[in-house]
Amino acid sequence: MSTTTIAHDDAHEDHPTGIMRWLTTTNHKDIGTMYLTFSLIMFLVGGLMVLAIRAELFQPGLQLVNPDFYNQLIGVHALIMIFAALMPAATGFANWMIPLQIGAPDMALPRLNNWGFWLLPPSAILLTLPFTLALFGIGDGAIATGWTFYPPLSVQGGIGVDFAIFAVHLLGISSVMGSINIIVTLFNMRAPGMTLMKMPMFAWGWLITAFLLVATIPVLAGAVTMLLTDRHFGTHFFDAAGGGDPIMFQHLFWFFGHPEVYILLLPVWGFIPQILETFSRKPMYGYKAQVYSLWAIGALAVVVWAHHFFTAGMPVPALLYFMYSTMAISLPLAVLFFCWIKTMWKGSMSFETPMLFTVGWIILFGIGGLTGLVLADVAADAQYHNSYFVVAHFHYTLFAGGIMGIMAGTYYWLPKMTGHMYSEKLGKLHFWLTAISFNLTFIPQFFVGLAGMPRRIPDYALQFAEFNMISSIGAFILGLSQLLFVYNIVSCARGGKKATAQVWEGAKGLEWTLPSPPPYHSFTEQPVVK
């Protein structure tokens, strides 16, 4: 891809300073920074919660927290990590990078963008406030149903459920607004010459994600609205005693919940091939095959939801349909894996921190994908359902596949965003500590899960003691090693070796034609893609 030179006009640097800059900003980079900062803070909050969980599970018996508080920690940890850490991180990258990658001056709807972000902090407060209120004797704590809100537990739960329902509504509105903005930006704001099939892969990943969000978030919102009316307005949508159907809630929830996995992963699948081509110093392999595979996965994502509750009971043809359709996702995913590996094949590879995270990501996310195939098997799932095997599987998918991917993206784009190089030494240390401690935490969970240890229970049988101890030690190392990540980001933002415009020798695309950091107003003259 070749481009024209980009001019810059300093008159556009005018903007409010101090807190007003952040409250009123419509600049895509400012909003991206706020999303990423918010995500990092919530990642630490959600991480602290899980450290309390792992401390409790260090030994069998009840030591530190009572079972009800344990349930609250489990539910809020998941809600925070999914809605307040992973999703905002991907949205932060979208805000920062999509306009730069497609040669647009900003997002298409900048005010909507600001509104979308500022709905997030109140949602995070709604999720965590019940913990604090309970300390003062108000209410009975946060939502204790797990992140899935299953009735009848959620119909009978305390005020934490109401807080979580309102939080999910706000988060949903924020996500839908963000998605609309991204779709409109990608359709209307691309530089002349950038056809859809010339868009960077990250833009493709996000375009499909945005459509998935618009298609599924309203269904989740509908389900939790009905839950709210069941709780307070005398309806019985999901209450069997009143003629309702609790399984219907599971269908509605997972119609959103399963695509949500791909909503978290598709943006990562977008920038991972870009990192691979940069550090392999050769063009991405199979661009078209990757785009079609992303679409295929996006389409399959919305028709496989019921594999999350095979054991709830459904007709055999339905079981078979959901099993085979779920397994079919592995085909386009295998195409993606092939393209990622082939991009590296015979490349002139170097292993800076983003590439280390990416290669580690491919291996660990691969394990997440393969164990998903095991769970998709109806006969096998009856054994593994609700066990620690599931917990290990989805952490390989969402921590390794999601958060480690986000870390790769952070190290990749941080010099572009801040204008400084981060410490490679600390970055590599962070990678190795994360990769080793992550496996130390979750490999034992496969073992105890296969042996029958149920999830979401604060106590366990004596035979699981050793593996749980190892898992807890791994979790604490994993948690502590994230402090290196925070330190590296903060010190990079504050100063350090100046980054060049291209930053990485093999980097390609419009974002690398701008200086590091890019000017406040990115493109004053529209680039032309040839």
Binding site: A108, L109, I183, V184, V219, G222
Partner: protein, 37 residues
């Protein structure tokens, strides 16, 4: 240039309203599905 910007803005708002409208209709429809269940 200014005219181009207006066209992009108008088209952007149109797409945004269509998508937003579809999302809201889908929200209502998902509840209607349960009512008729």
């Amino acid at each position: 240039m200014e005219k181009d910007k207006q066209v992009v803005k108008k088209s952007s708002m149109r797409i945004a309203y269509i998508l937003g409208g579809l999302a809201f209709a889908w929200y209502l429809l998902s509840m209607f599905t349960v009512l008729s269940h």
